[in-house]
Amino acid sequence: MSEQNILEVKDLTKHFKAGKKQIVHAVDGISFTLQRGKTLGLVGESGCGKSTCARTIIRMYDPTAGQIVLDGTDITAMKQKELKPYRKKMQMIFQDPYASLNARMTVRDIIAEPLMAHNLVKSKEEANDLVYPMLERVGLTKEHANRYAHEFSGGQRQRVGIARALILEPQLVICDEPISALDVSIQAQVINLLKDFQEEKGLSYLFIAHDLSMVRYVSDDVGVMYLGQLVEMSEADEIYRNPLHPYTKGLLGSVPIANPKLARQKEKSSIEGDIPSPINPPSGCRFHTRCPYAVPECSRVKPELVDVGGGHKVACHLHK
């Protein structure tokens, strides 16, 4: 186990029961490592298990199988009580800035809650000494402390959410689509704030999104997920320049291009059909039902994620 890895995930699996005998394969055998101070982007269609993956890592859900190693400690099987000290190292920023803040609490109380939960401060006054600088750090002021969350705009709320996640000075922050509910103009503001924090404190981010250009901007590495599995993983620019997996190609091909001339030249490689049900995922390569290059082998044998050179990993029979 390397010292420089803040998070190691091995064969992480999370299945949910749906009905009596049906099982939803939300996350199926995902492995990756995240280095200190780096950002790993996870992209994929809606319903591919990105959020479940994040929530399992932060142990909101109990993993079905696999291993989660946070900063050299295996937290996979810990009970919630044992887990508490490790929560300080790992925090989460949520997708919906409207639902993730309690409407009955003032911003001060929201940001002070982690401090109270971990007994880092004894009184409200003591908490204020930490809360006010943090508020200013995210671009809000002392005057905002007594306000309720609903009085803020979406961007301001998301910054409150960031302040709440960062006040414990965690080493790893899981960002579960932190910008997808925001205006484009506000997205940049929030992303830049996150980047500033990363430079300042050496944070690591697990950044989940479906906005591919934003992921390219923030991430050092990018993992592409399809139906609960990682299909391709590489350094960010490499994956955008040279996508190998047909799904990644399709995903990148579906990004609209603003310039119509360039858009006409672009290779049309959109993905046909819908994502199959995670209750009965296809055998072999899960993408073979929609893959334009599928060969008979694809439906029988599950391709492993293999390094095709330069740390570019892909799970596809076409690339071995």
């Binding site: 887990l83 929560r87 982690p114 939960a117 709440r164």
Partner: protein, 383 residues
């Protein structure tokens, strides 16, 4: 800022400023509460009723148990006959006695009976030296001159001695109403508080824990609610001695099931929300999550349930009084007063209407206040 149309600078302060007023939580709640006329009306009614119930007995000359059998079933507005000398009035009681009434309605002494003239259906009384006759041959009974048989002029005066009249045992209804309101309000507050605490804890734990714990706890609630709650209360009352304490115990231990159901439902849906997940990833304790996140957000429905519960507690207490297992007789409650009045409903409907009116007032007031509180406690409705 003098000119509101001037361009703002790009300073952070202007951009992030929230222009609405900043108030404390209590100030905010009060602001929203007082801007709703119905809730203020409800609050005023409750305060007035409480003053009436707590301070009122100091200002009456009677106690709730003082009986005066000579003046039973007297209405608040009396039909009276003038005395022969015209200085005052005479009132005929149901027991065919004649009572002096002053010009402004204060009841005086009873007239002395002189003799009975049964053949002409008259009783002769002595009214300060003059004889007057009470003719009881036909209803309504009248007072007339025994010689000329001329009926004295009649009038209606408001009863000043017993403002709301007396009941069938000659007790002052106003005084009993004060004590009755006191009992009803006390039952309402205590039963509501006990139910709220038990219901919130039971429902909150059941909803939050989920799984087997939830199933078992909710089956307990189901079992309790298969038998009508009224029956439980009656059974408990049979075991306990009748009295105010027992009523409160009986109501408090039974009526929380609705509250538990409501709280559980709310908690079940709230615990899936992101802010609760956030609290869990932060590492907040279950206690914090329940008391700071889930229950405050469920407060709206909790208050609505409480305001429904208060009238039913008052009704239940009245019903127990009606069955005769409520308060012990000389004690008054609004329910027992209604019950006592049913016997004379035809002749003295006011005995029933007055306590019933107070019950209505209490329930209206609590509903209005509950409604206002629910809105006031929701910071999302800030104006």
């Amino acid at each position: 800022m003098e000119n509101k149309w001037e361009m703002l600078g790009s300073s952070n302060e202007d951009r992030e400023k929230i222009w609405s007023k900043n108030r404390t939580f209590a100030g905010d709640v009060w602001f929203r509460f007082r801007h709703k006329p119905t809730s203020i009306a409800g609050l005023v009614i409750i305060v007035l009723l409480m003053l009436f119930a707590l301070l009122g007995p100091m200002f009456t000359d009677y106690s709730y148990s003082t009986q005066n059998l000579e003046v039973v079933n007297i209405p608040p507005r009396m039909k009276v006959y003038e005395t022969p000398d015209g200085s005052g009035y005479l009132y005929v009681t149901q027991a065919l006695k004649v009572v002096q009434v002053s010009r402004d309605g204060i009841m005086g002494n009873q007239l002395k009976k002189v003799r009975e003239e049964a053949d002409s259906s008259m009783t002769i009384f002595d009214c300060s030296g003059t004889e007057v006759a009470l003719y009881y041959g036909a209803k309504p009974y009248v007072i007339a001159d025994p010689q000329t048989r001329v009926i004295y002029p009649s009038a209606h005066v408001w009863n000043k001695s017993y403002v709301l009249g007396t009941d069938s045992l000659g007790r002052d209804i106003l005084t009993r109403l004060m004590y009755g309101t006191r009992v009803s309000l006390m039952v309402a507050f205590v039963a509501a508080a006990v139910n709220m605490i038990i219901g919130i804890l039971f429902g909150g734990i059941s909803g939050y824990a989920g799984g087997m714990v939830d199933t078992v706890m909710m089956r307990i609630v189901d079992i309790i609610s298969t038998i009508p709650l009224t029956l439980y209360v009656i059974l408990i009352m049979v075991f306990l001695e009748s009295g105010l304490q027992s009523i409160i115990i009986a109501l408090g231990t039974v009526y929380w099931v609705d509250m538990a159901r409501v709280v559980r439902g709310q908690v079940l849906s709230l615990k899936q929300q992101e802010f609760v997940m956030a609290a869990r990833t932060i590492g907040s304790s279950t206690r914090t999550i329940l008391l700071q996140h889930l229950i405050p957000n469920a407060m709206g429905s909790i208050l609505v349930t409480v305001t429904m519960l208060i009238p039913s507690a008052i009704f239940m207490e009245a019903f127990l009084g009606y069955l005769g297992i409520g308060l012990k007789p000389p004690l008054a409650s609004l329910g027992t007063m209604c019950n006592d009045a049913t016997e004379n409903l035809r002749s003295c409907p006011h005995q029933m209407f007055i306590p019933a009116l107070v019950i209505c007032l209490i329930m209206f007031a609590f509903n209005f206040v509950g409604d206002g509180l629910r809105d006031a406690l929701d910071p999302k409705l800030k104006k």
